[in-house]
Every structure is written in C-alpha cells, then in structure tokens.
Amino acid sequence: MEYQRPRIALGLLMAVALAPMAMGQHGPRGPQGPAGAGPKGRAFQEVLDRLPAPVKLMFARFGKQRYSGQRVVEFRLDGERYKNIENLIVDGLRSRIEFAAGSSWYGQVIVDNRNRRTHFFPDRNEIFVGVSPRDESIMRLRQFLQSSANGRLKVTTDNGPDIVGRKTTLLQVADPNGNPVQRVWIENTTGIQLKREIFDRAGSKIGAFEFTRLNLDPKISDEDFVINRRGAKVVDSQDRLRAAAREAGITPIALTQDSGALLQNSRAVKIGDRNVLTQTYILEGRRLTLFQFKGNIDMKRLARQEKGLIKTYRWEQGGYSLVLVGEMMPDRLAQLAKFAK
C-alpha cells in the first residue's frame, strides 16, 4: 500500500505514546486497555507494528483526544433501521452527545464523565445512570488485529478519501475469503475515527457512522459534562432490567457482579411467538448477550450460526432456557453461566 510518511513530530509523539506498550506494561487505562501484555497482547502488538502510523495513533490516543463535531450514525436493530445525528464534545474521558433534530432519538443527551454515564430521555423525563462504556469499540478492533495474527481475519490498510477535509487512512478487517467485517477511516494526524462501517455475515451493513463536522480546537466547559434535570426519574441498569422483564413477562435471571460482566442494556423482544428478555453485558471489552425465554431451542441450528469469534452456551434455569452469546470460547461462557442468578 502507498502511504504518506508521517511527520517527524507525529513520529515522536507516537514513540512516547507507544513506549509503555513496547515495554509490555499496561497503559494508563489499566489491564484492559489497548496496551495489554501476554500472548494475545504480543500478537496484537506484532500486527500493529506492521500497520501505518494513523492506526497506531488511533490505539494510542483513544480516550485522550479533544474535539467537537457532528456525525451521522446509522444502525439496524430488531429488523428496524435507525438514524441519529450526534453532536459531540469530547475531552479525553469526558464527552457530551446530543441527538439533533432528525434523529431517531431526538432530544436525548448522553454525558460520560470518566467512569460514569448519564443518559437523559426527555420523552419520559428519565435519567439513566450507568457505567461509561469507554473503550469497548476500540477493544473490538484490537481483538480483530489479534485474530488476524493467526489468519482468522485479514487486516489491510490503504489511503482513504478526505473526510470533513481531513486526510484519512482506511483500515479494513475481512474474513479469510475477503468479505468485509469492519472498515474504519482514521484521521491521519490525530487517530480519530472519522468513519466506521460494520457488516454482518451476509455482507449487509448493519452499523455505520461518519463525521460531517470536526473541530480539533473546541472551546469546552466543565458545564458541558453535567446533566441537571429537576424532577427527572433516575434509573440504573437494574431498574431497566426489571422493567424489561415485566414487559416480557419473565422473572429475570442475570449475571451477578461477581462474574465481572457489567450489565449495560436490557430489552424485551418478541422473536417469533416468544417473549425474550435480552440483556447485554460488557466483559473484557467484549459484548455478551444473555437471552432468556420459555421453551426449547435447537442447539444444532444455533451452533451452525456460530461463525468466526462468536460462540454460544445454553442452559436451563428456573424453568427458562438461557443462551449466552459472545466472542468467547464456550468453556468461558460456561464459567460465566455459573454466575447467573
């Protein structure tokens, strides 16, 4: 691939930023951060070493950037497509996102302040308080790079088009047959992801965002990272779980905190003629989904859907069938299932 040589200053900046990785130490984000050690960490580092500077910069500077801008986000969920226009203010681990007019979630506001997330829902005057997701999306890219080390995925780079007037580098992750899994367009001098696309196994684009405005020198106030709405009902992930379980008519079974998995989202979903309680967890930067429902399931058919990194584990508890799905080995999923209460 052709790639423009980065400036010397950029190289020096990266050398400083990547020094802890090269020394096998954890970065400032802790053991789950991009700089993790061990065989997987080394595999990641070896792949990263062969990639151009903007990709290295993306990993090194994630959670440390300072900018404001607007991006259009599109994704598919439960068969429906959603489109949001997000106005962002980002200052390291603090961020504010407002969903502008024309968005599916118009009026909602999200503030991340280090570990704490506050999400305001104006339609029912409710504030959800939870854990800031921080670096899950970058962790998924890191996993892809690790998987490329053993040939399960292919990682390629190329010069990308200008986006919001900025030069970009395209990072593409594909399966061994060349089918795209993810594409990320990285701003060359900051490592900011300006565009991202995610595909399912059928090759359909199921999620994407693209910046339409970017300001690398924004005026930011501490007030930007506060939501203070009098009279709003404050709820947390357990409240959301109970509400979703009521809606599904299911007595909820959830992974306890001892499992290390953090509950992020709960939904009542109708699949076929069954009510399904869906819980989404985050663990070691990976997303897990716990499905709970009445009745049996064809595990052979489900196993046939296990492609790539995604595995499943099924058990019965409390008169319900439970299926845990995630990018983990089945024995690891089985261990987590023991924490279901």
């Binding site: 986000v73 599109e74 994704f75 598919r76 969920l77 439960d78 429906e80 949001n84 997000e86 962002l88 961020s95 996102i97 599916s104 979630w105 009026g107 909602q108 999200i110 999400h119 104006p122 339609d123 029912r124 939870g130 899950e136 998924r140 047959n177 991202r196 995610i198 399912d200 196994r201 059928a202 199921i206 999620g207 965002f209 009098r230 009279g231 959301r240 809606e247 992020q264 989202n265 939904r267 009542a268 699949i271 076929g272 069954r274 399904v276 869906t278 989404t280 989904t289 499905f291 399931i297 064809d298 058919r301 489900l302 046939r304 859907q305 296990e306 995604i310 499943t312 799905v325 995630g326």
Partner: protein, 160 residues
C-alpha cells in the same frame, strides 16, 4: 439355350428374376454370349408409370425416416443444450458453495428462532459500536417520539 431364351423373355417382359436366374445372367454376360447383344437391343424405354409410382411411394416412405431423425436430433440437441446449461450452472454453484450456501441459509432460515437470536446479538453489538448510546431503548423511542415541545416544564420556567 432354352434357359437363355427364358431369361431373354423375362428381361423383355421386365419380369423379376430368381436368384438362380440372376446368377445365370451374370455368367452369360461374362461369357460374351449373344445375350449382351440382346440386352443392348432392348428398346430404351422410360420406366412405366406404375413402376415410377411405386418407386415414388417407396421414396416418400423412406423420405419420412430422415425427417423423424431430424426431429429426434432436434429433441436430443435440446436436451444436450439444457444439460450443458445445467452443468454450467451447477459448476458455478459448486465452485462457490461456501458463499452461496451461507447466503441461502441466512435468507431461508432468517425467520427461525435460533437465527434471530444470533442476529439480535450481532446487531446490538454493532449498534453499540457505532452509536454513543448503549441503553438502546428502542421500543420506547419509537412509541413516544420526542418533539421537543416539552423541553421545559412550568416548574422549570418558574425556577428561572
């Protein structure tokens, strides 16, 4: 001599010869007997109409057989063409089995419960990766779309 006369009589009368007579005729022709002169002296006549009619009927019957063969060939060539096309399609499908089988399976099975569970996981993970929001309260958002008209309540305004 008598046999020779019988032969001549039959030839003149355009009568059919037996196998023995045909052999005898051949021998006489080879022996340069007078029979050759007799044959040359036979009047040069056009075949009679009865014989020509019979010949035409035989030819018309024989002519139908090639037509049947042509029809058979048309049918056979059609089968061959269809077979070749099927073979070509099969070859293409067979060489791309992993991709096409996966696609067909996905489409055909897209309505079954197990596939939808997996699709739900994939979609929600993707949505969380690209969206800032992980509290994907989809149902609530769709049912009660916010208009912005209730951004400030009366108590909010009073507190200003």
């Amino acid at each position: 001599m008598k046999e020779e006369q019988n032969l001549i009589t039959k030839l003149k009368g355009e009568m059919a010869l037996s196998a023995e007579e045909s052999t005898e005729l051949d021998a006489l022709l080879d022996s340069s007997s007078s029979i050759g002169n007799v044959i040359r002296d036979l009047p040069h006549e056009e075949p009679n109409l009865v014989w020509r009619s019979q010949l035409n009927e035989k030819l018309s019957v024989l002519a139908e057989k090639p037509k049947r063969r042509i029809g058979l060939w048309k049918w056979a060539s059609g089968v061959v063409v269809v077979g070749a096309a099927s073979l070509a399609v099969w070859s293409v499908v067979n060489t791309r089995t992993p991709v096409i089988a996966t696609t067909n399976t996905t489409i055909a099975d897209s309505t079954n419960f197990e596939d939808q569970l997996m699709q739900s996981h994939v979609e929600s993970a993707a949505a969380m990766d690209v969206s800032s929001a992980y509290a994907l309260d989809v149902v609530s958002s769709k049912e009660t779309s916010y208009t912005g008209e209730e951004e400030w309540s009366t108590s909010d305004l009073e507190s200003l």
